[in-house]
């Protein structure tokens, strides 16, 4: 009786754990819309440092985590300024090319004098 029941109990436990994992994911809004997902990420980011501190206290490790340096770099602004620079150089290119050609011709003329 017990030997027949054991596989059933094992399967029921596995299904329970897997179903529980899916339910927890659904219940915390991880499988919902964009707003819920980004809200969940915000909550997780807010909860991580205190949780790490608590775990470190629990294990007796009182070391100070290095603070994340506040980098004043915006990829969006860097990209936009790069695009602006490229386009302005491209728009000036014909004028600059003709100026440099004129200067080159003048230089060669002066050399041949």
């Amino acid at each position: 009786m017990a030997t027949k029941l054991l596989p059933v109990v094992k399967l029921a436990t596995k299904v329970g754990i897997a179903g529980g994992a899916v339910y927890v994911a659904y219940d915390s809004g991880l499988l919902g819309g964009s707003e819920q997902g980004s809200e969940a990420l915000r909550k997780a980011r807010a909860a991580v440092p205190p949780a790490i501190e608590e775990w470190m206290k629990y294990f007796g490790l009182q070391t100070q985590l290095p603070t994340i340096p506040n980098v004043e770099f915006s990829p969006v602004q860097a990209w936009n300024s790069g695009v602006r620079w490229t386009i302005s150089r491209l728009s000036e290119a014909p004028t600059k090319a003709s100026e440099m050609t004129t200067q080159g011709f003048q230089f060669v003329k002066n050399l041949l004098k």
Binding site: A21, S34, G37, S38, L41
Partner: protein
């Protein structure tokens, strides 16, 4: 309007990251419990999460342009 566009992108990327990681986690659970620690449930789960995130992003960006029509019945 540019701010709203940037906010949409932020929301989209955060949501996609969360869903991919959730799918990965659920895939790991299923892999360990039912599929003898094979890799494919993990890949399947994270792919599922990525796809859900992509679909949400697509809907979010198309939202202002979605037209909802109604059929008016003749009375």
């Amino acid at each position: 309007m540019a701010d709203e566009y940037g906010r949409k992108w932020d929301r989209c990327l955060a949501d996609t990251a969360v869903k991919t990681v959730t799918g990965l986690g659920v895939g790991v659970v299923f892999s360990v419990l039912f599929f003898k620690r094979r890799t494919w449930p993990v890949s399947f789960g994270s792919g599922l999460g990525l796809g859900m995130g992509y679909s949400n992003c697509q809907h979010d960006f198309r939202l202002p342009y979605l037209i909802h029509g109604r059929t008016v019945k003749d009375q």
